[in-house]
């Protein structure tokens, strides 16, 4: 009895999500000693608030990667959401809910088209989503014309600024999405199908799973969550502009991998991606504290990701 309990404790302690949380804690404590203001509650809360946007994008990315794909259009979808939403605001709807619903429907549809390309046209996910990103970039220049657009949407502004119970609304939203994502991944048949699909698509197909439908659903989820991240980014920034979503593409992939999800699909959990997103924002904050030139900042960021990868993402040896 105690032996199995010890085994369970050991498996939790050596699990990737736990280790990633540990790394975050160590970095936070170390940074607080080095820089006085870093460990202040307000600053740490700000870090988590920034991580919420990455976390939302990375939630969709986690779904896609576990199912054996990759979504390189998330950055463009975030931009579409943040730039498109202000253009949709209608005077007839003072709450601003309708604009959010419409833009989320649009980004879900974009994700769905990605899924159609991957599942039906059998285009490789990397090519399909890259081509989609190129396509959306062209579209954005048409609709936004290159200038920044401000949101006059009360709900978006509330999301960006409100603090129910002292916690930013964005973090609440991330919390809700996280619980939902974890539930879907680990407690529903749909989640089980994703892991199977990522591990062995042929066997999954032969087991009677509707692989095309599952694939389309996965990319649609990624589109929906990227759209949601765009709404939050718009709220926090106050305005949307072409390129607002660009940083989130690489950050989402890095967060997924740092969280212990295999980039090859079939294994992983969103529980690791959450601290992975916090870790990325922490690294960025640390580099800002160092006050280095852009070149050094970029080198530091890349090197730290590489070091963290070494601690985590090793593939099995060839035998």
């Amino acid at each position: 009895m105690s032996a199995t309990a010890a085994l369970r404790v050991k498996s939790i302690v050596t699990s990737r999500p736990f280790l990633t949380v540990l790394v975050v804690a160590i970095v936070w404590i170390g940074a607080s000693f080095a820089s006085r203001g870093f460990g202040a509650y307000g600053h740490l809360r700000y870090i988590v608030e920034l991580a919420a946007v990455i976390g939302l994008v990375a939630a969709g990315q986690t779904f896609v990667v576990i199912a054996g794909g990759i979504d390189l259009s998330v950055g463009a979808i975030v931009t579409v959401s943040a730039v498109g939403l202000p253009l949709l605001s209608m005077d007839a709807d003072p709450t601003g809910v309708s604009a959010i619903v419409i833009i989320l429907a649009c980004t879900t549809a974009i994700g769905f088209v990605n899924g159609v390309g991957v599942a039906w046209l059998r285009v490789h996910p990397m090519i399909m989503t890259l081509a989609m990103a190129t396509f959306l970039q062209g579209l954005l220049i048409i609709i936004a014309g290159g200038s920044a657009v401000s949101a006059h949407n009360p709900l978006v502004a509330w999301l960006g600024n409100a603090r129910p119970l002292g916690i930013p609304a964005g973090i609440w939203m991330w919390l809700v999405v996280s619980v939902g994502a974890l539930y879907i991944l680990h407690a529903t048949p749909f989640g089980a199908r994703l892991f199977a699909l990522g591990a062995n698509p042929v066997a999954t197909q032969l087991s009677g799973v509707d692989v095309p439908a599952t694939t389309m659903a996965v990319y649609a989820i990624s589109g929906l969550l990227s759209g949601l991240a765009g709404v939050l980014a718009l709220g926090m920034n106050g305005q949307g502009y072409v390129g607002i979503g660009d940083p989130y593409l690489l950050a989402s992939i890095a967060a997924v991998v740092l969280g212990g999800t295999s980039i090859l699909g079939g294994s992983g959990t969103y529980a690791g991606t959450i601290p992975g997103a916090v870790l990325l924002v922490t690294i960025t904050a640390l580099i800002t504290v160092v006050n280095a030139s852009p070149g050094w900042r970029s080198i530091l960021f890349g090197s730290l990701i590489l070091i963290l990868l070494l601690l985590s993402g090793r593939e099995a040896a060839r035998r």
Binding site: L121, A254, F301, L306
Partner: protein, 323 residues
């Protein structure tokens, strides 16, 4: 007896051409599309058929061809790089800062090639020896290499000797000649033991390893070659513009993947040919030129490019399923 056996087998040359013919099967359509687009382009812009017109066209294609080859080597060996754009930028700024210095053009070129070789081999070593996924390592690598480019040259500047710019990007098709030379060198490389193991390492690493192929060496060599090709593309881009720009390579990462995949290089390694990758890059290059001459706005070019890439990849798949 032995004579009977040898006469029953096809001769070495016949076998070689039979294999080549089979390999070309997948890219026949692509070659046809390339030819049609080139003819259309020559109609729109008859200057293409003059020497300087041909030179200008091949110069606009050359860097894309190099990065397509750079990506294709990796993909054949079962890898991929998201750092090609950053490597192009680094090659460009190194060329622009060293060539005007005391080492001259020869020294500058040597530094560019060496940096590409070292960075590529180091990336390969990390991916292969530390067993990390290539896509994430090169993602982190793109930050490091891009940062290094910013350190070498924080803002566009530097200089390339005018005679070199004239030679590479002038009115003579020197760049096309270089491309032919590089393609021949690639053929030679595939004939060496290390080059021969490239396809095996990409197609079935475990099987190749068990058959005694040095899979690790083949893959690290592929990364090194890829690094050199990307850095050379940077050198050429710098020669074209006459100076270095630390951000000039960014668009090349995606274009290199698109060109390689259009050319029939498989994502899982071991599938495809370098001539396919070159044809894929030619398609992208002619497409951009033709759309420009037809008066498409840059926005429409983006959209058309996205659609054509998806179409070119999807149509063979659909046809295969219908057959």
């Amino acid at each position: 007896m032995s004579e009977a056996i040898s006469s029953a087998r096809p001769s070495g040359a016949a076998l070689y051409w039979a294999v080549q013919l089979r390999r070309n099967r997948g890219v026949r359509v692509l070659f046809g599309v390339d030819a049609l687009l080139l003819i259309a382009y020559a109609f729109l812009f008859p200057g293409l058929l003059t020497l300087s017109g041909f030179a200008k066209f091949t110069q606009s294609w050359f860097p894309l061809a190099l990065v397509a080859m750079s990506q294709a080597v990796l993909m054949l060996a079962g890898g991929i790089s998201l750092a090609i754009g950053a490597s192009v930028s680094l090659g460009a700024v190194i060329a622009a800062t060293t060539m005007a210095g005391p080492f001259g053009v020869v020294g500058g070129t040597a530094v560019v090639v060496l940096s590409g070789l070292v960075i590529g081999a180091a990336t390969g070593g990390i991916v292969v020896k530390l067993r990390l996924p290539a896509i994430v390592v090169t993602l982190a690598g793109s930050f490091i290499i891009g940062g290094a480019a910013l350190l070498v040259l924080p803002r566009p500047g530097g200089a390339i000797p005018a005679w070199l710019s004239d030679l590479l990007a002038g009115n003579l098709p020197v760049a096309f000649g270089l491309l032919v030379v590089i393609a021949l060198l690639w053929k030679l490389y595939l004939a060496t033991p290390l080059g021969l193991s490239l396809y095996a390492a990409g197609e079935n690493p475990v099987g190749a390893f068990r058959s005694g192929v040095s899979v690790d060496a083949a893959r690290i060599a592929a990364f090194a070659i890829s690094g050199v090709l990307a850095a050379l593309a940077g050198l050429f881009v710098a020669a074209q513009t006459g100076s270095g720009d630390p951000l000039i390579g960014q668009a090349f990462t995606l274009n290199s993947i698109a060109a390689a995949v259009l050319g029939g290089i498989g994502f899982l390694g071991g599938r495809g040919t370098m001539r396919g990758a070159l044809a894929g890059s030619l398609l992208l290059s002619v497409m951009i030129n033709v759309m420009f001459f037809l008066g498409f706005t840059p926005v429409a070019q983006y959209i058309a490019q996205g659609l054509i890439i998806i179409g070119a990849v999807a149509i063979p798949q659909i046809r295969e399923r219908l057959a």
